[in-house]
Symmetry: C2
Subunit: 240 residues, 2 copies
């Protein structure tokens, strides 16, 4: 499998994809035509979203085609050279992946070697379920089950900061509740960082380190150089 | 119907229920025995949660009984003098309301006049769906459909503040996405505030005002004294 999972599209104060586009281009290599899935977009049209991504990646000679521009979404997946899933609302994304009947097809294609790039909600859906999204459940998808391309949950946009003078739960408290009730690990990606999965395993980059929340109540810290200490346990899963 | 929906249990920097207990006691009047539903609690045991609520309300002579302490949750609902639903994780709460088979029973009892108090997740579930919760979807409930005691969505802990230097979506952006895809209004309750529903209609208190997000893209502002301008439209619904 060849998978790139970015925490976010836009670092605070930077332009769209500024921190990510070089990495995406390097990951795609000579596959220059990318099928883009804009289903997580809600207050932006699929056309506008696709153009935004195209504009960001044009300098690397990458050509973006929106899945909505094809007569058949399923055929588009079957013929894609590479697949990119953009951020937005995870519930909307998962609802539409089911509606369009492409969830299983994407999984099959990626297992067969088709490169997959996701950011934010698009990274969330690479895990077993959507259960560790930060998004509001604005629509009800058929199921919370997702692509299961990696054997752990992703929490994108990870931060331990909170809204000042506000009583709502912190991200930390929310994730501690998740691992209390679930046995999947949660890999937390701070903004700017990403995971890359290929035949050599899983690597972390773009940040100093990451946290893993583990059932029932453990929070582990890994610095970038020690990421393999954590990810080596998944060799069997990712070599499929 | 007699319904009290609080945004939150604990104002920032205050003790548990400090801002709310007098209002709850006044709302309950001479009904001193309250059936408490702690299902939203995740990292706290149902016993500990029930004791915390009991301790907060003891000074008003209120006696709290946890629904988990009864042989039958359904019988407990049928016999309750008043029902209180606590905050925590909304997805866990809704999952358990379905699991225990009490969702429809609670709705029926409240329509028959049994007083209902909710805070945070407990207020969320008084609306038609859980779609405007702020919580993480740590478990998958059978459905997003909720009690539908009020004909609009609730957003508790409402704030327009954001995490400093963070790229994740603001609450405002999330709710704007909700109204883009849904026709229910969203009544946003800042921390400290509440709604009270009775035969005279719906009143807002505990804060200076509230916002209403309305399909497809409107955000309305109501000061406390002008709340009836908004809520009068629901007279028919709440007089049932």
């Amino acid at each position: 499998m060849n998978i790139l999972l970015l925490s976010n599209s836009t670092n605070h104060g930077e332009t769209y994809m500024n921190h990510a586009k070089e990495k995406i281009a390097q990951f795609l290599g000579n596959r220059k035509r990318v099928l883009f899935i804009p289903y997580a977009g809600v207050s932006i049209s699929y056309d506008a979203y696709t153009e935004t991504v195209q504009a960001a990646l044009a300098e690397h000679g990458i050509e973006i085609q929106g899945i909505h521009q094809f007569d058949s979404a399923q055929t588009a997946i079957k013929q894609a050279e590479a697949i990119a899933v953009g951020g937005g609302n995870t519930f909307r994304l998962v609802q539409q992946l089911y509606e369009q009947g492409v969830l299983d097809l994407i999984r099959t294609r990626v297992h067969d070697g088709c490169p997959f790039v996701g950011w934010s909600a698009g990274s969330n859906v690479a895990g077993p379920t959507l259960c560790t999204t930060n998004d509001m459940p604005i629509v009800e998808p058929r199921s919370f089950d997702c692509l299961n391309l990696v054997p752990f949950q992703i929490n994108p946009h990870y931060t331990e900061d909170t809204i000042p003078n506000h009583g709502g739960e912190s991200r930390k408290a929310r994730l501690e509740e998740y691992i209390c009730l679930n046995t999947n690990d949660v890999v937390c990606l701070p903004e700017g960082s990403w995971l890359e999965v290929n035949e050599s395993g899983i690597a972390f980059d773009g940040g100093e380190g990451f946290k893993v929340y583990q059932h029932p109540d453990q929070v582990l810290d890994f610095e970038k150089h020690a990421a393999s200490q954590y990810f080596n346990r998944f060799k069997k899963f990712t070599s499929n």
